[in-house]
């Protein structure tokens, strides 16, 4: 066994193993896969937000060249509903409304983009041509494009039996205690805001290929998924009733997810089912325009809140009322996003003793809304960090100072919040101080003056945020309504000659797991990164898994690998003890070498693995041959990354254009395995956060037409829109997982939007602005500036 250089273990910026195939065009994404004899599916989608299907005539289309089959809701009505993975209960204990979500519309469409029919043809073009020949007559119904419209008296029911289009009315916290805190407050600061609806826009559009082997009865689904095992469970068990043993789900290279590829989508079930009906593979590839109206959207909260403070600016209580848009159907994890991923985060990094939050989830005639990078936590953080800035302005306390006064101190951990979570570690003053120094906060006024001399408005803003990730213990989330366990699975296979294959239930779609996970093996087992292969994304290869979301891959998936490696080491010690004729208790293991303590007698891991697979001289009575171990790791708690983000912006008052001049992130993500990858994850998250703050919004008109339905209309950040993003880390270790890691995938998108918006409001402070809603588009800012100038002139 080669010695591992220290550069490959934990803490090394190892260059990514996966890059070579991506850089040479040899990645294999779902749409790159073609199966022998495949037909092509095209989905006819609803042009209306809410309508009854009066006539659906496929006869002419079926006669078009190349058409293999056309299916409608009449063909799939006997199949299961696209399931929801999380059940929330109302205040009165009754379960949420959970209407059927059909694969193909059954008499009614509920959002623009809803699936009406699927055409399967010999070519993509023929399928599309035939779809145009399908005759559909709609009776257009009144549409509710907003939560206000859906809840208005007399609003049309989107689903039969769902009164008031209300999915659930939920709350957390002790209202009486909360009311008392407000009654005793020296100051109450109120705030209303909308968290803008976003569309993830992973660069790879969704795609799916279904395949059926009529001799074995085996189905295979290739799909753009963040969690193939979850898709197998949801689609197999709930929609198509295919046993797991007969259904393989493969998520090969996946071109970004950001949450939008967690969910089980109708198209996956359609191609799998149709492949079985037709006895040939069926391939579907989403066009970007379809993505806009069929990928789950994110955010879309409307909130009223209030903060109670004492005379010294100490937070006494927080009261929040949020309405959360579910869209037309419940996507896989939609109900938990505005509840257990949002309301439980409202303590943030502060000692607020009482928090009461009520959440109404509302159906509308829009695309389903679910988790998007951060999922609930960005909404909570944005609310809190804007509210704290407003409280600072209205109490006259400096905005950094008011944060310091309310921070949970480092000696308070483990810290029990009033909203269920117990934080294990953190040092919010340290990350704040590091960010203030790195951003030269103290020197800002000079930069403001310099900008003013050029006619520009310069502002600075910070956010001190926290998130809960590595979503966790299964028993806890089960009691909160999760219909799945949230552990992770890892297998370590040490091959006879000492190379290692890692099988992980986590899925990499940009995160660089093939490198980071290999580093874990290098660090613990002493096997060089080049000799470690990480396998993920295939239910036929990986024993089980829950996938990648909620920044969980390392904290949960990595921990499972550590547990499996510890089993390998324990077994290896027994083999080593036998070979070296020593007692097991005397065997030490360090990075690839087993040693009889206090002697120079050693065996390399490769010698042990060879003995395990060629057990000629082996303790066969005591242990089995082979050197492969699997571990399921169920976390003891969430992990709690946190930190401070600081944005500095400049506004051109003539155009209203906001430029982010500088962005500083100091994050505590726990132990860092690969600093290069962590930095990249934070930069990418910050880019999406700046996108939310300044550029992005999914916009519907009052009829439920999606106006921002293409990349020409939905403003994604381009290189010119973004600043260089300075990233630093300050580490406190997670106390309850074996790696001490917390997760880094979402911090960027959570901490950055309020930092940017606090800077925008700061830049506009001469105009009497209390708050600016996201996105801070030039039109909006120009309007504020010019309204301010008019007022000043009057």
């Amino acid at each position: 066994m080669n010695a591992v250089t220290p550069f490959e273990g934990i803490g090394a910026s190892v260059k990514r193993k996966e890059d070579l195939r991506f850089l040479s065009g040899r990645g294999q994404y779902t749409d790159d896969i073609n199966r022998p004899g495949q037909a092509y599916a095209y989905i006819l989608r609803s042009p209306h937000a809410h309508a009854r299907i009066v006539v659906l005539d496929t006869a002419a289309a079926a006669a078009m060249p190349g058409v293999v089959a056309i299916y409608t809701g009449a063909d799939t009505a006997a199949l299961g509903s696209i399931p929801c993975g999380w059940q929330i209960h109302n205040k009165d204990g009754s379960p949420m409304a959970e209407p059927r979500h059909p694969m193909l519309a059954e008499g009614k469409v509920r959002h623009v983009g809803d699936q009406v029919a699927v055409v399967i043809a010999e070519s993509r073009g023929q399928a599309k041509d035939a779809a145009e020949a399908i005759q559909v007559e709609y009776e257009v119904l009144p549409a509710a494009a907003t939560m206000a419209a859906a809840q208005a008296p007399g609003a049309a029911a989107i689903h039969d039996g769902v009164a008031g289009n209300l999915c659930y009315d939920w709350h957390i916290g002790d209202k009486a205690v909360n009311d008392a805190a407000f009654a005793a407050a020296a100051k109450v600061v109120e705030f209303e805001t909308t968290n803008n609806r976003l569309i993830a826009n992973a660069m790879e559009p969704r795609a799916a290929i279904g395949e059926f082997d009529s001799t074995s009865g085996d189905y295979t689904l290739y799909t753009t998924s963040q969690n193939p095992h979850v898709i197998r469970l949801l689609m197999g068990a709930f929609v198509l009733q295919i046993p797991e043993s007969k259904l393989r789900v493969v998520a090969p290279d996946v071109g970004g997810g950001f949450g939008s590829k967690i969910y089980h989508y109708a198209e996956e079930a359609i191609v799998t089912w149709a492949a079985g009906k037709l006895g040939r593979p069926v391939k579907w590839t989403c066009e970007r325009t379809e993505s806009f109206m069929s990928d789950a959207h994110g955010r879309d909260h409307v909130t009223k809140c209030a903060l109670a403070l004492d005379a010294n600016g100490k937070f006494l209580g927080l009261r929040v009322h949020t309405e959360a848009n579910m869209g037309a159907y419940l996507s896989t994890f939609a109900p938990c996003v505005p509840t257990y991923l949002y309301a439980t985060l409202l303590a943030g990094v502060y000692t607020t003793p009482t928090i009461y939050c009520e959440v109404k989830a509302v159906f509308t005639n829009t695309v389903p809304v679910d988790a998007y990078r951060g999922a609930g936590r960005p909404e909570a953080t944005y609310l809190l960090e804007r509210l704290v800035d407003i409280a600072a302005a209205e109490t006259g306390i400096d905005r950094v100072e008011i944060r310091r006064r309310n921070f949970i101190p480092t000696d308070a951990f483990p810290y029990q919040t009033p909203v269920a979570l117990q934080y294990d570690s953190g040092d919010y003053t340290a990350t704040l101080d590091a960010a203030l120094a790195a951003s030269d906060w103290a020197g800002f006024e000079a930069r403001r003056q310099a900008a003013a001399a050029k006619g520009k408005l310069r502002g600075i803003g910070c956010s001190t945020y926290l998130e809960a990730c590595g979503i966790a213990p299964s028993a806890v989330v089960g009691s909160l309504g999760a219909r799945a366990g949230l552990y992770e699975v890892g297998t370590i296979r040490v091959h006879p000659t000492g190379s290692v294959t890692v099988l992980t239930g986590a899925h990499s779609h940009g995160q660089g797991h093939e490198t980071t996970f290999a580093q874990l093996v290098a660090d613990r087992l002493g096997v060089p990164v080049a000799q470690v292969d990480v396998v993920h994304g295939d239910t036929a290869k990986v024993p089980f898994g829950m996938g990648t979301y909620g920044s969980r891959s390392l904290a949960v998936g990595g921990s499972a690998m550590v547990k499996a490696m510890d089993k390998i080491i324990a077994k290896g010690k027994k083999i080593a003890a036998h070979l070296m004729e020593a007692s097991v208790e005397d065997i030490e293991f360090d990075r690839g070498t087993f040693r009889v303590a206090g002697t120079d007698r050693t065996k390399a891991l490769a010698e042990i693995s060879l003995a395990a697979y060629v057990p000629h001289n082996y303790p066969i009575e005591e242990i089995e041959p082979g050197l492969e171990e699997t571990a399921f790791y169920d976390p003891k708690n969430f992990t709690y990354p946190g930190g401070c983000h600081i944005a500095e912006v400049e506004i051109d008052p003539d155009t209203g254009h906001v430029t982010v001049m500088k962005f500083t992130a100091v994050d505590d993500v726990g132990r860092v395995i690969n600093p290069m990858i962590v930095e990249g994850q934070v930069q990418g998250g910050v880019a999406q956060g700046i996108g939310q703050a300044l550029l992005e919004a999914a916009v519907y008109d009052s009829d439920g037409q999606l106006l921002s339905g293409s990349m020409m209309d939905y403003c994604l950040p381009r290189a010119e829109d973004l600043p260089p993003v300075g990233v630093a880390t300050h580490t406190t270790l997670c106390t309850h997982n074996p790696l001490g890691v917390k997760g880094c995938g979402e911090v960027g998108a959570i901490g950055s939007p309020p930092a940017v918006m606090n800077a925008v409001v700061d830049a506009l402070k001469g105009y009497g602005v209390r708050h600016v809603e996201m996105p801070a588009t030039p039109q909006k800012i120009w309007g504020i500036i010019h309204a301010g100038q008019r007022l000043a002139a009057e």
Partner: protein
């Protein structure tokens, strides 16, 4: 069906296509060069950029028939036959300028054309402006910009080897 003859990555092929077939469809579906990706349907994302007769082109916006007689280079054709990466590919790896890899082929092809057309060298701001036709949702562009800045020094012969990324 009409025929189109073109040379892709040094290999000449004659392919039957429909009149409406796009160049990217020809590359991906007829020649099975799946390194060139389709990320949108409005010529916004740049995942499909290839070089046609030396210029970067969004291959989703060009009919296959328009490429008749053309010389096309795709991401698969960049590395030398011995596997040595193009300096731009090498720089993307060194500077962690890719995450999910989906925008990467188009980004690399655009970046090479951008650098080749600016022998005098590009500032950070000019690189950012020059990437206006390419979207990346993963990286925030920070490391892409750094990679291009480093690659241009090698491509223009100002350095013999790539400047290593700082630890």
């Amino acid at each position: 069906m009409p025929q189109v003859t073109l040379t892709v990555n040094g290999k000449t092929s004659t392919v039957e296509v429909e009149g409406r077939t796009l160049l990217v469809e020809l590359l991906r579906e007829k020649l099975r060069l799946t390194g060139t990706h389709v990320g949108c349907d409005t010529s916004q994302c740049g995942a499909c950029v290839v070089h046609v007769d030396g210029d970067s082109v969004k291959s989703c916006t060009m009919l296959a028939l328009q490429a008749d007689g053309a010389t096309v280079t795709t991401i698969e054709g960049l590395a030398k036959p011995d596997g040595t990466l193009h300096p731009m590919q090498e720089a993307f790896r060194e500077y962690h300028a890719l995450q999910c890899g989906f925008c990467t082929p188009g980004m690399v092809m655009s970046a090479i054309d951008l650098v080749q057309k600016h022998p005098q060298g590009l500032s950070e701001k000019e690189i950012r402006e020059g990437l206006e036709g390419n979207l990346c949702r993963c990286t925030g562009y920070h490391n892409i910009v750094k990679a291009i800045a480093a690659a241009q020094d090698v491509m223009h012969g100002r350095r013999s080897e790539l400047q290593p990324a700082a630890e």
